[in-house]
């Protein structure tokens, strides 16, 4: 009964999305306040019914209702409650429902928190968001219904993929989707701006906090995925340049460029076309990612069970939405001009360079990810493009970006007068180089060119970021939220660079075969296999090892790697034993029983790896602080009447 109600709720949600789209867009076009109000009500209704559908599916999982095909395929009676709930988004159909819920949620937030927008503009934004909702809900109802029944009812489910039975991976999709889907808001703002033919730059200020919010969720989502891969997959890797990872990284790069471009548009009314194009691109890349993951055109460890029919639908939807937006852009953008000037060493200039590097990086990853598909389509043969390519190529735009970052943050708007800032920067640069040589030489005993460069750039970014609030404090100036956010975020970038350089340069991996009592040395740490035992979990059996780690005779920690076999069958899963440290991680993963009491183990020493994710968290934190800056909340005092004067005539 409940699944049918859920299905019905989804249908109602679709109808309300249609109403939302129709009344909002038409209401804005005709200036009909009643229709625009109806559109806003539809937003609330749509959210309610999507939430109900989501609730119904969750209930089916919690209740172990194996008469629902999706539940039977992704759950099991032994599955603990937390994972029964997480299983809702564990595969294709349910994850689409999550997408739709996130979109409905963001739409509701826009309707609720942007009262200061002029009604027609807000309506257009809601209308466009409605259009996207229609697409996803139609997709579900036509090709991927999560409520489809399994007749006869299954007596037992197939179980949730054991890889997903983990806390980080349970929360990774919701947070990631909040990010992906959140870019739809910026997209809708951009399209509404283009539709209205607005010539001013007010929309930049409105869009910025929404973009920052979506972007920070995406940052956390990607960081969670990376962290999960590190401790769960057993190899100690944290980024594989897998097509689906790239599919999440590309919107992030576009989003980062967008945030910076919005800053210039908001402040000086410049780069309007670029900013609009970036806003369209960020969400387009999210949609593209959805297509790549679910259509089967690329091979990936993350790919959902694929079906070309679904691929066709998504492609059609993608073409309509992105194609429509880009044609709208081609039509309206040429009108946007500004006469403002700036000097070559002004902040505007640096931000432009910054975006050039980000977009170049984005383009390279896109090309590398799609190149095999291009070649195959042109019948030029099959090739693979993997980490060796991406790792090399990504550095090309990133190194100059990091170098200029330190200067750009400190540059003044409009004029290139660096003045006293120059000395600060020289000092920061000197400290960075010295620090880099110290870290490489003293801490790790090696001075290598790329490593030194990496550390130097990392320290450069970190020190030049911190110099800003320090200078302000010394001059007894306040530090507004936007500045604090920027400083923290950029410091996070430097910190992440520090971590990446450290772990890539100095990590040590050793595969060994040990019997109980044997040990091996990794980077001066002695890893000794002390014991092995069998144990039983809620839905698995496992072998657990005690690996005692010591250094110079003194005990450091004991690691407990496990090898699990889930009751539902399948290949064994590895749970690594990890000791987290400020300067390094120690890592042990259990392999196979080699016979005669010996087991294979992978032991790793991972210096500075924690800073990769800590840096990412700081980036997200910085974004959050910036988004909450008072100037975005003071919009409530703006009069709607004064606003309409800046809209060019003939835009209706």
């Amino acid at each position: 009964m409940i699944p049918e109600l859920g299905h019905f709720a989804l249908i109602l949600a679709l109808l309300l999305s249609i109403a939302q789209c129709f009344f909002s867009l038409n209401g804005a076009a005709r200036g009909n306040a009643a229709w625009m109000a109806a559109g806003r009500s539809a937003v609330v209704g749509q959210f309610v019914f999507v939430a109900l559908a989501f609730g119904a599916l969750t209930w089916a999982f919690v209740d172990r209702d194996f008469s629902v095909l999706y539940v039977a395929t992704n759950s099991n009676s032994q599955l603990p409650l937390f994972y029964r709930v997480a299983a809702v988004w564990g595969a294709h159909e349910g994850s689409l429902l999550l997408w739709s819920l996130c979109l409905a949620g963001w739409t509701l937030a826009v309707a609720a928190f942007s009262k200061s927008l002029e009604a027609p503009f807000q309506s257009r934004v809601l209308g466009i968001l409605g259009l996207i909702s229609i697409g996803f809900q139609l997709f579900m109802l036509m090709t991927s219904n999560p409520f489809e029944r399994l007749v006869p009812r299954a007596s037992e489910g197939l179980d949730l993929n054991p890889l997903l039975q983990d806390f980080a991976l349970a929360v990774h999709p919701p947070i990631l989707y909040l990010g992906y889907v959140g870019f739809a808001v910026a997209f809708a703002f951009a399209c509404a701006t283009l539709l209205e033919g607005r010539l001013d730059a007010a929309w930049a200020r409105w869009t910025r906090p929404w973009t920052l919010a979506a972007w920070l969720f995406l940052t956390i989502g990607i960081a969670l995925g990376s962290w999960w891969a590190y401790y769960e997959l057993g190899w100690g890797g944290w980024w594989f340049w897998d097509p689906v990872e790239n599919a999440s990284f590309m919107p992030w790069l576009a989003g980062t460029a967008l945030i910076h471009s919005l800053a210039v548009t908001e402040k000086r009314g410049l780069f309007k076309s670029w900013t609009l194009l970036l806003a369209v691109s960020a969400f387009s890349l999210s949609l593209l990612g959805t297509f790549l993951v679910r259509s089967g055109v690329l091979i990936s460890v993350h790919a959902f069970a694929t079906d070309p029919a679904r691929g066709v639908f998504i492609l059609a939807f993608l073409t309509a939405v992105i194609g429509g937006a880009l044609l709208l852009f081609a039509w309206r953008a040429p009108r946007l001009k500004s006469a403002a000037g700036f000097e070559p060493t002004s902040r505007e200039s640096f931000l432009l360079f910054n975006n050039a590097f980000l977009v170049a990086a984005l383009g390279l990853i896109l090309l590398g990810t799609l190149y095999p598909l291009f070649m195959d389509a042109l019948e030029l043969g099959k090739i693979s493009v993997g980490p060796p390519y991406f790792e090399l190529v990504f550095l090309v735009p990133m190194l100059p970006l990091l170098a200029l970052l330190g200067v750009g943050m400190n540059a003044a708007w409009k004029r290139g007068f660096l003045g006293s800032v120059r000395n600060r920067l020289y000092l920061a640069g000197a400290l960075a180089v010295i620090g880099s040589l110290l870290v490489g030489g003293a801490a790790y005993g090696e001075i290598r060119p790329m490593t030194t460069l990496g550390f130097a750039l990392a320290l450069w970014v970190m020190i030049s970021s911190l110099s800003i609030p320090l200078a302000r404090l010394r001059a007894r100036q306040p530090i507004p939220g936007a500045v604090l956010g920027m400083v923290i975020a950029h410091f996070g970038v430097g910190l992440a660079t520090l971590g990446i350089t450290g772990v890539q340069s100095f990590k040590i991996e050793k595969d060994v075969a040990l019997a109980v009592g044997d040990g091996a040395d990794v980077a001066g740490y002695d890893f000794r296999l002390a014991a092995l035992r069998d144990l039983r979990g809620p839905n698995f059996i496992a072998v657990e090892a005690d690996v005692v780690v010591s250094r110079d005779g003194r005990p450091v920690t004991t690691l407990h790697p496990q090898k699990r076999l889930y009751d539902s069958g399948g290949n064994p899963m590895t749970e690594a034993g990890i000791e987290v440290g400020a300067a390094r991680d120690l890592f042990a993963a259990l392999g196979d029983d080699l016979g005669q009491g010996r087991w294979s183990l992978r032991l790793q020493y991972k210096p500075l790896i924690r800073y990769v994710w800590l840096g990412a968290l700081l980036i997200a934190l910085g974004g959050g602080i910036a988004a909450l800056d008072r100037r975005y909340r003071e919009r409530a005092t703006v009069r709607a009447g004064a606003a309409s004067a800046s809209v060019a005539p003939g835009s209706r």
């Binding site: 993929n161 730059a201 403002a340 000037g341 432009l352 390279l364 043969g381 693979s384 290949n571 993963a589």
Partner: protein, 144 residues
């Protein structure tokens, strides 16, 4: 249904650790070559993993081949040719440099120069505007 099961099974296969307890090379340079080579080779049965990371039987066999080829004194290039003769270019994670991958390998420089070129044009135009008419430096966007 089977498609889902296969995908799940393949994903599970991807999860178990590929631990290579074959003999480590005495010579660290050879060990480094070995590690780099197996990371550059793609495991064909897996969903996007390198021969270094994969637990599949084929990956095990290919690691053994690489090891034996290094011991036999073959160079890195020769080992790569050995693999592509049998499996095609698909087996290389670092795409070969051929006319058909020219765009791929020149992209970093092309994109960077292209981007910088566009930026340079814009910056120069704005700087000229600023110099010609200093008032434009103080232009503010329409405030609300």
């Amino acid at each position: 249904m089977r498609l889902i099961a296969i995908t799940v099974l393949l994903m599970l296969g991807a999860s178990a650790v590929a631990i290579d307890t074959g003999q480590r090379f005495e010579d660290p340079a050879q060990q480094a070559r070995y590690e780099r080579l197996i990371r550059d080779l793609r495991c064909l049965v897996c969903q996007n993993e390198s021969v270094a990371d994969s637990n599949a039987m084929l990956a095990n066999d290919l690691r053994r081949e690489v090891r034996e080829l290094i011991v036999a004194g073959r160079s890195d290039a020769e080992i790569r040719v050995f693999m592509t003769e049998r499996y095609g270019d698909f087996v290389l994670y670092r795409p070969p440099v051929k006319p058909r991958t020219w765009l791929l390998w020149s992209a970093p420089v092309l994109f960077l120069l292209g981007g910088l070129g566009v930026v340079a044009v814009v910056v120069l135009r704005r700087a000229r505007a600023a110099r010609a008419n200093p008032a434009t430096l103080d232009e503010e966007p329409d405030r609300q």
